[in-house]
């Protein structure tokens, strides 16, 4: 790109006019560009503004537990009297759906990514890659619908969990979305490794599997980690699938077959129905802020891993 385009000579009025016009156009573009950056600040600002209002109405500790009859209660009952706003069950719910989903998706997604990048022939890869990208774009409400209507019965007939709708069902649904994401990103991470490295491994007599497992994969590990982290970020923020398939019971449990209520589903289910500027309304913004912070953290982590990988390749 050319960084300096000031004309060397400007004598005529027309040139001067042109220069002003150019200046205006640049300012116009800059406004647009800055707007994108400002938008993220705006989101931050508005979330925080609405979320912090909650502390005028609720004691911050109530988001962990509330004392009822001298007993600490960890419950999410925002419409009861007295209202209970413990986010503990919601956090547990979010993690109990997102973590298993990430584990499942990491395994299958990474395997699929390795296959795409290292094993599949060029033709197969060119055929499969777009298909996998398309899978990542399936509307989540359709996945939720499928889990609720078809998969729930299937799981019930085979595993027969105590609850028909449960965290496991939701995490399976999440996997449908997250596997393609991890697969696609893993494929890209592996592909970004210079071919020389593969050649070097082969020339040392390594078999294909040895090359993949001992050379390629360790080299791309930070890239693969980044893809897993991004997959987790996606899983924890996903709403419709968990809203429809997790059962939405706000309980404290570690049983993956019990139903759970996630942060995202809570916002989706309750936001349309609260009166504006009530404690309940602000508290929904507050849990939204938590969700935002978690995904932000995940993004930054992924960025860090990716940078690490990029740096590594400068060494080679």
């Amino acid at each position: 790109m050319i960084m300096n385009d000031k004309p060397l000579i400007h004598t005529s009025n027309k040139a001067e006019l042109n220069r002003i016009k150019e200046k205006f156009i640049e300012i116009f573009f800059r406004l647009n560009g800055l707007f994108a950056a400002i938008l993220i600040l705006l989101i931050f600002f508005f979330l925080i503004r609405e979320a912090l209002n909650v502390f005028m109405l609720i004691n911050p500790f109530e988001f962990i537990s509330i004392n009822l009859k001298s007993e600490a209660v960890y419950e999410w009952y925002p419409t009861s009297d007295p209202a209970r706003y413990s986010i503990v069950p919601l956090l547990i719910g979010s993690f109990l759906t997102a973590v298993p989903a990430t584990i499942i998706s990491t395994f299958f997604g990474v395997v699929l990514g390795v296959y795409l990048s290292e094993i599949a022939s060029t033709g197969v890869r060119e055929f499969l890659k777009p298909i996998i990208e398309v899978f990542a774009g399936i509307p989540t409400v359709v996945v939720g619908f499928f889990m609720l209507v078809v998969a729930a019965t299937l799981i019930q007939d085979t595993i027969n969990p105590p609850s028909r709708l449960n965290a496991f069902l939701a995490s399976l649904g999440l996997s449908i979305i997250v596997i393609p994401i991890i697969a696609s990103l893993t494929d890209e991470a592996l592909k970004s490794i210079p071919n020389d490295i593969r050649m070097a491994a082969y020339s040392l007599g390594a078999s294909k599997w040895q090359t993949i497992s001992k050379v390629i994969f360790p080299t791309a590990l930070s890239g693969v980690s980044a893809s897993v982290i991004l997959g987790f970020g996606r899983a924890i923020g996903e709403t419709m699938i968990v809203l429809m398939a997790s059962g939405n019971a706000a309980i404290i449990t570690v049983d993956i077959f019990s139903s759970v209520r996630t942060i995202s589903a809570t916002i989706a289910a309750e936001m349309g129905e609260v009166s504006v500027n009530s404690a309940h309304y602000f508290s929904l913004f507050f849990i939204g802020l938590i969700l935002f912070a978690v995904t932000l953290l995940m993004n930054l982590l992924a960025e860090l891993f990716l940078n690490k990988m990029k740096k590594r390749f400068h060494l080679y």
């Binding site: 419409t79 009861s80 028909r164 709708l165 939405n248 404290i252 289910a269």
Partner: protein
């Protein structure tokens, strides 16, 4: 730049047209609230608009809480609420400068449903209370086959949730107030709830009878006030039992209300009159709810 100008022009036209819309005489009635009532309201709206094509009625569900919020925020003309307003809510309304006026539009019974394979036929209110607060956890304590009870309920914004809480969980000789068990699965609508119970042998759920009366894949349980009382079933042969619900003999009967801000006038008043008229109440009956007055269904 011309592209941007064109867009600006389009936007301008759109806003301009909004203004035109506002000035035009076409009447819009916005209705929000209870999911229990949303299907019923849709039918009212459909028939009313057939008679009065100059009126457009928009219906949104989301729960009674949504209706109240809409009324307070002044985003709806009519709020569907499947329970009476709480004192707190009336106070809040006053703060917002809103004066909610109540109109009875129909009656409804809350039915308790279980899976057809479940052998339990009747439950008392105390039993229901203990079931839904999580104290009774196994069907064999109720005379059924052993198995963990799985609770299905509604979102905390739904009127059915509140009604059930106030009329089942709060009834006790000791007067203690109970909460729903945290283990209760929360479904996004009564239809999803019926679907879940029909597939879950250990499931139990509750909802307006209109949603269950015609279904074969769920069983409606009879309810009695005390263990020694007679148990009543709100539905007989796929037909709501009008008598016991209207007379409130069935313990879980309730009125369905619509609320307006202040005494309605004009288009809204006309619509409410229509709902309470014979035509409107016939629709109530068709939708498996209970009409307000006997005369509306007797003469058939």
């Amino acid at each position: 730049m011309t592209y941007y100008n064109r867009i600006l022009f389009l936007l301008f036209l759109m806003f301009y047209s909004c203004k035109v819309e506002n000035l035009s005489p076409r009447d819009i009635i916005t209705i929000k609230g209870s999911d229990t009532m949303v299907n019923l309201t849709l039918r009212w709206a459909e028939s009313y608009m057939k008679i009065n094509p100059e009126v457009s009625i928009q219906v949104t569900g989301g729960g009674s809480g949504n209706g109240i919020a809409a009324l307070l925020n002044n985003t709806a003309h009519i709020a569907n609420i499947s329970r009476e307003l709480k004192d707190v809510e009336i106070k809040r309304a006053a703060e917002f400068g809103v004066n909610p006026v109540q109109h009875k539009v129909a009656l409804d019974g809350i039915a308790i449903i279980v899976n057809p394979e479940n052998s339990v036929d009747s439950l008392s209110l105390i039993q229901l209370k203990n079931i839904f607060s999580g104290e009774i956890q196994n069907w064999n304590e109720l005379g059924g086959e052993p198995g963990k009870i799985v609770l299905y309920g509604r979102e905390n914004s739904s009127g059915t949730y509140e009604f059930f809480k106030q009329n089942v969980l709060n009834t006790d000789s000791s007067g203690s107030v109970k909460e729903f068990s945290t283990g209760m699965q929360v479904l996004q609508g009564t239809a999803a709830l019926a679907e879940a119970v029909s597939r879950d042998r250990r499931g139990i759920g509750f909802g307006g009878i209109g949603y269950f009366a015609l279904r074969d894949d769920v069983k409606i349980v009879s309810v009695k006030v005390d263990p020694q009382h007679k148990a009543f079933n709100p539905v007989l042969k796929h037909q709501p039992d009008y008598e016991i619900v209207r007379e409130r003999t069935y313990p879980l009967s309730r009125y369905l209300y619509i609320y307006t801000n202040g005494t309605p006038s004009g288009k809204v008043e006309k619509f409410i009159k229509f709902i309470q008229s014979e035509v409107g109440q016939k629709i109530v009956k068709e939708m498996e709810y209970i009409p307000l007055e006997q005369s509306y269904y007797d003469n058939e």
